[in-house]
Symmetry: C2
Subunit: 306 residues, 2 copies
């Protein structure tokens, strides 16, 4: 294989009750990338479309991953990379993770698949570190594994792939405002009460149980965030209104995707996802804020060759 | 039915990663109770064996439950209660919960089963409030439902019954020292870092996943407590030594049962539970501290008629 074209899904991290531990992948939005072997060693970014990102291969979230992998196996070839960004940077949909995960997957294919998914996740975290300052794993793991994933631990890194009930759909709306990851971090308090920690933990446990038993109502009752949402929602105009109307229109739960500003609504079935998307859309249509909106089945396969 | 004799299992709450949210029931130790209808209304405690507890039916963890249930349905009979305590008060094995859960179950049978398990749990919490000052649900729910239970939320009370892998056994050792629930509470800090909350939460999520998939190694890696154990273990002499030897001898995990001083070891299979029990026993045999020790399959049926 000399060249590969891949689709790397956008991802929703945190998922209300799973702060810094849970993520899932989306079918209908994701970066596309073409990676081609070159005789010249090293990594070259020859094209970036859809976002203004650096061509410096030491500073781009995708190319640092490719470079680390080529170095690791002492590859006798280099890679040319073309990046078609569909996941907007700063959207809260795992934009850098999509590119980093896609780069890890594609490079592994060109190398003859020497690495496991867990190892690819480790490599992709290097891209997150470049992009966000921190090698977080929830988005990249969701993009690589597909479906719902749990970051069980960081030392050592352990990813648990969770089942996805067949009718689980998602509506996501991305209001075109900027929420800096740094601001989203700073708005959180460093400590929380044990009581709140127990609540969050029990909701995550309830969600996991609901995923294993296809219990949509249990999933719904578990999609509660007492850690991040109460603080971060202030950074997202009209969040409360979107949440209220989303729930009134049948969403299982509405929450902030990653550190925002994208808002996700988990739904049972395509029809419900459409209803919820329309309801959320109406809120921003009656404002001055532009937005993008998507509905999708929860992606279960992760990065794939296209 | 005029009279009923029941077995109400002892329970392990918290289970390392499930602080204030998780519990499971034990087969080989539990209170026995005989409840008999009387023409005279109200509740009378005619016998208590095995512990020095009050015969005042307004202050006993079992009789307050019976009384509340009889009052609720405006019963035209009373109940005489005999209590054979096998679960020692202050052991950390849910002694009051065993009596309260047994009382709820037995009274429901004598009334013709008007109440659901969730309602019985609500009634049994009244006993916990009398005994511990707080209407906690983890022990009583585990005793009533059997198996592993998750207290998903308190308002409203929601209990999720979790699956129990078939080879899951437990070794419990009760060193004969007193740990007051109040001290066990006071030793905890009221706030924890978000980082620790995420770790605890991810471990609970891992444990839940392991229970659904019969993944004993995932269960093992998830039995980690960063909230309570680091503080409470100081109240239990030789805890570190017991934990170390238990793990060395094959336990999936070792932790504090409830607020202690009982230490539990979850194990895969009876033979492993025996090995772990022997190893833990040796630690206290070489000390001046008396102890009781039990091994058991994890109980899956809860309170039962005997």
């Amino acid at each position: 294989m000399n060249s590969i074209k891949i689709f790397a899904p956008a991802t929703v991290a945190n998922v209300s009750c799973g702060f810094d531990a849970l993520g899932f992948a989306i079918n209908t939005i994701g970066d596309e990338m073409v990676l081609t072997k070159t005789t010249e060693k090293g990594v070259k970014i020859s094209k970036i479309e859809g976002a203004e990102l650096t061509f410096d291969s030491n500073k781009n979230a995708a190319s640092v991953v490719v470079k680390a992998m080529l170095d690791k196996v002492n590859a006798d070839f280099g890679i040319d990379m073309q990046l078609f960004k569909k996941v907007k940077p700063g959207s809260g949909l795992g934009s850098s993770a999509s590119s980093a995960a896609g780069a890890a997957f594609a490079t592994n294919e060109l190398l003859g698949k020497p690495f496991t998914k867990l190892e690819l996740t480790e490599f992709a975290r290097l891209g997150e570190k470049i992009a966000c300052g921190s090698p977080i794993a929830d988005n990249v793991a969701a993009a690589i594994y597909g479906g719902f994933i749990l970051v069980k631990s960081y030392e050592p890194l352990e990813i648990v792939k969770l089942p996805v009930p067949n009718e689980l759909w998602v509506a996501v709306i991305h209001p075109q405002i900027e929420v800096k990851t740094e601001d989203a971090r700073n708005v959180l308090k460093p400590n929380i009460s044990i009581a709140d920690a127990v609540k969050q933990s029990a909701n995550l446990a309830g969600l996991i149980s609901g995923l294993y038993t296809n219990d949509y109502q249990l999933i719904s009752r578990s999609l509660v965030d007492v850690i991040a949402e109460p603080h971060r929602k202030k950074l997202i105009p009209l969040f409360d209104k979107v949440k209220q109307t989303g729930l009134q229109n049948g969403a299982l739960g509405i929450g902030i995707s990653g550190s925002g500003p994208t808002i996700f609504g988990l739904c049972k079935g395509e029809k419900s996802a459409n209803n919820v998307a329309n309801a959320m859309k109406n809120v921003y249509q009656n404002s001055t804020i532009d937005f993008n909106i998507y509905i999708s089945k929860v992606n279960t396969e992760g990065v794939k060759i296209i």
